[in-house]
Assembly symmetry: C2
Homo-oligomer: 251 residues x 2
């Protein structure tokens, strides 16, 4: 097809962010409250328009920084930085009633942040357990109640992001992105338990995780911040792919 600007329909392109962390043994997502229609007053994922001369990943990192103060790398975070990767793109013609918007969703995995409500406005930004917005694991039990639907198609985007995180910590070292720079084997185990929603055997987990080459590097220090016997401190090793992988029970 020849180059003719009138020959293609115009779109708005946005980035939406699924920002996940583990707080008090629960997988939580960052949500913002909408101040105007449509979906006024409803919770939504943070996001915004991609600028005219901005790359998609840069736009996602900018929005993340504006919303949380976090910095993120697109390929594997390190010190106090979060992991950022593209998730998927959502472009149903009806997904935004105002106009045709294609949203490139990104997934961010971040350690638990010191401030309960990061950013400026405590009314309109919060961490919430993902079960607040999406049905838990395999249909869910009676006690969870109905999820509060997010604005637009953000419920589906969040569900896709959570599923990506759940499957990706199986075969990559990404679970360490939820941990502070130095962490114990037990803290890492609690990350897996929170993300997968299962209990893991601490003894087999310890043997497996310390035996996987490149996953963990001991720092020499130890801590008793979890109580009990002092635990060795580790930081993330250089490996990105785990071999053998961690296996989610009962698949």
């Amino acid at each position: 097809m020849p180059y003719d600007p009138s020959a293609y329909p115009p779109f708005a392109v946005t980035v939406d962010l699924v920002v996940l962390t583990v707080r008090r043994h629960a997988l939580c997502a960052l949500a913002v409250r909408r101040g105007e229609p449509p979906y006024q007053g409803r919770w939504a994922l943070p996001g915004g328009f991609v600028k005219a001369d901005e790359d998609l990943g840069s736009a996602a990192a900018r929005e993340l920084n504006e919303e949380t103060g976090l910095r993120a790398h697109e390929s594997g975070g390190s010190t106090t930085e979060a992991h950022l990767e593209q998730l998927a793109t959502y472009g149903d013609p009806q997904r935004d009633p105002r106009m045709r918007v294609v949203s490139v969703a990104h997934l961010v995995l971040a350690p638990d942040l010191p401030s309960p409500t990061p950013g400026g406005d405590a009314h309109s930004v919060r961490w919430a357990p993902v079960d607040t917005f999406i049905a838990p694991q395999g249909g869910g039990g009676r006690d969870a109640g109905q999820p509060a639907p997010l604005a637009f198609d953000h419920g589906r985007i969040l569900a896709d992001g959570v599923e990506r995180a759940r499957s990706k910590i199986e075969y990559s070292s990404l679970a360490t992105a939820f941990c502070p720079p130095e962490f114990t084997v037990g803290e890492l185990r609690r990350v897996y338990e929170a993300v997968w929603g299962v209990a893991l055997d601490p003894r087999n987990f310890h043997r497996k995780v310390t035996g996987t080459p490149g996953f963990l590097v001991p720092t020499g220090g130890s801590t008793t911040r979890q109580g009990g016997r002092p635990a060795q401190l580790f930081r993330a090793g250089g490996a990105t792919l785990l071999n053998p992988p961690m296996l989610r029970p009962e698949v």
Copy 2:
């Protein structure tokens, strides 16, 4: 942000297709020759603009059908239909010198087609081994020669699609999407060998693949089209996730 159409920059949105098949023991991709600048005369991935009222997956399926006559489902193909899934979105501001174009790439896995050059124009559409365009596996040997670069950023898109296919046939039953409706264990093994570029032990492969629940269903028939002793014919079972997974040697 308030609704103000002038407040967001306009983008063109396209779909590009990584269409893969296995032909003569080689993983091949569909390529089209560009008839006009930029990159005139260079090979590129098939694709085109998303229409004003069209979903992304529908646009990909439409382009695929226009190019090859194939029909595709977005979630698991069956009879003579191909597998289609979203791959990733590419939006570097400089990726198209004419204007700002965001491309939502899709991955298609199709069985070997009867016509060598599907579609109408044999000059401008062809199947080519993926090594024609991208460096093979781990850096590649001496004998492969330099790959012929595709137009735009299509080399990277193709590489991402090939890697997705290589990893996805490990833990899903997607390898059957490369096979005709009825196929033998040996034919399925040759698919794995072509996609991964390795040789697999036929005996262990047979035991493993027939022992994985839901992967293969015997049709009762048999064939000698590969020579040798007649082989049982199978069709794809209902399982989409393989447990245990097929493991790529030497990772």
